[in-house]
């Protein structure tokens, strides 16, 4: 009898439980807590947190190659590069390029705010000794774009996928806390009070041409960005064409919501104790934060540089919106602007560099892919 109950006990997960697994549960529960009580990117951190917990339950085998349920989600959804591009289809349908088309020079700010990606890439290889592929994956966290980070990690450094995704989404949630002090430090009150000249009205034809022209230009220049750019621009064409309202609606609602579920869960499940509980994970979080800070700084500096050469001044705060956390970064710009001049409405102007930042991050990822894979 004793023998049987001992045997039974050995078939339970409890017998195989290890201390690192329990630490992973705590990490997973912390993400769920932050998602629920602090509203930190709940659409992603909630499923990611849950994925972490269930992937660290002994004998459950959810991530066992060829058999585990979450392994299948991971393999066919993320490893096969299906989910991040489908997310981009939805984002394209959600994105209004109007503010960018009205003020095309702001596209440079979307490029300028990728500075942190490259600074961090060099810091991670040269100083911290990460290999080039890992360094690129860590650097892209500074672009503040979750699906792009996941896309690049899958191709270059799958072992860092979970960590980099969690870092990217955490920092996106922390944009309103990380960015404002840097923005105040980098600008004078007078600069923050600069009011933007009124944007012109954008014609429907321009909005239809934008995704088409962007598709040609970007994919011809950086072919490796094709999966994300193609889907992003198709989604935007659905939106702006005005003739496929059902596809537009499905892309930005049902489809986006469905794939979001299948993105977060397996990403969390890649975070097993052996993989995650390593000193280098701490470095990744520190480097990711630096990437974010540098991107904010380079965006603002570029805006100031552009002001040296143009009569029509840009409010340099807009540079901070070049990180692709849409629309959080634009909201932060607006709020910091309003502190200096309560009648300065920067929100819509900030959306220009903000959406340009998404494209900028995808291009940065494409360049890494072309050079490193």
């Amino acid at each position: 009898m004793e023998y049987i109950s001992a045997m039974l006990f050995k078939t339970t997960g409890l017998f195989h439980l290890t201390f690192p697994m329990v630490i992973m549960w705590i990490i997973g529960l912390t993400l769920i807590y932050l998602a629920i009580s602090k509203d930190y990117e709940p659409m992603l951190l909630l499923p990611i947190g849950f994925g972490i917990i269930v992937a660290n339950l002994p004998l459950a085998g959810l991530m066992t190659p060829e058999e585990g349920l979450l392994w299948k989600f991971y393999q066919y959804g993320i490893h096969w590069e299906i989910i991040p591009p489908v997310i981009f289809l939805g984002l394209g349908a959600l994105t209004d390029f109007g503010p960018l088309i009205a003020n095309p020079r702001l596209i440079f700010l979307g490029a300028g705010a990728q500075g942190g990606v490259y600074v961090t890439f060099f810091a991670a290889t040269a100083i911290m000794g990460f290999d080039l592929k890992e360094a690129a994956t860590i650097g892209i966290i500074g672009g503040a774009d979750g699906p792009t980070t996941i896309f690049l990690a899958t191709k270059l450094a799958p072992q860092l996928l979970g960590t980099c995704a969690v870092a990217a989404y955490s920092y996106m949630a922390l944009v309103p806390i990380i960015q404002p002090p840097i923005m105040r430090l980098m600008t004078t009150v007078e600069e923050r009070k600069i009011r933007m000249t009124k944007s012109r009205k954008v014609k429907k034809l321009e909005k239809i041409l934008f995704p088409l022209v962007s598709t040609f230009v970007i994919i011809l220049l950086v072919p490796a960005s094709a999966p994300l750019i193609a889907m992003f621009m198709l989604g935007n064409l659905f939106r702006e064409s005005g003739v496929v309202e059902r596809l537009n609606h499905a892309s930005q609602n049902e489809l986006l919501n469905i794939v979001t579920i299948f993105l977060g869960l397996p990403v969390g499940a890649t975070m097993n104790a052996e993989n995650f509980l390593q000193p280098k994970v701490i470095f990744i979080f520190v480097l990711g934060l630096l990437a974010f800070i540098f991107s904010t700084i380079t965006g603002i500096v570029l805006a100031k540089l552009m002001n040296l050469f143009s009569k029509n001044k840009i409010n340099p705060l807009l540079g901070a919106a070049g990180v692709s956390a849409v629309p959080m970064a634009a909201r932060v710009v607006h709020k910091v602007g309003v502190e200096a001049d309560k009648k300065n409405y920067l929100l819509m102007y900030a959306m220009g560099p903000n959406v340009a930042g998404v494209i900028g991050t995808v291009i940065a990822a494409g360049i890494f892919l072309s050079l490193l894979s």
């Binding site: 629309p327 634009a330 607006h334 309003v338 309560k342 009648k343 409405y345 929100l347 819509m348 959306m351």
Partner: protein, 71 residues
């Protein structure tokens, strides 16, 4: 001399703090508009009396839409 109060950005009117006939001072918060899931205040452009309000709470307005007039 009456002046239009225009929407500085597109969004949804979520609060109207004034009534027709009410006296307001410049920079007094008169409307709250929600854009990009964020509340933004709209202030009186000058001292004066509100002559008319052209929107209702819950209306979606375009940029430059006339929200009311002030005299």
């Amino acid at each position: 001399m009456s002046e239009d109060i225009v929407a500085p950005l597109a969004g949804k009117i979520i609060a109207i703090n004034i009534e027709a006939g009410q006296k307001v001072e410049e920079d007094e918060e008169i409307f709250i508009i929600e854009a990009m899931k964020m509340e933004t205040s709209i202030y009186a452009p000058c001292d004066g009396t509100i002559k008319a309000i052209k929107v209702k709470k819950g209306d979606s307005v375009e940029e430059d839409a006339i929200l009311g007039t002030i005299e």
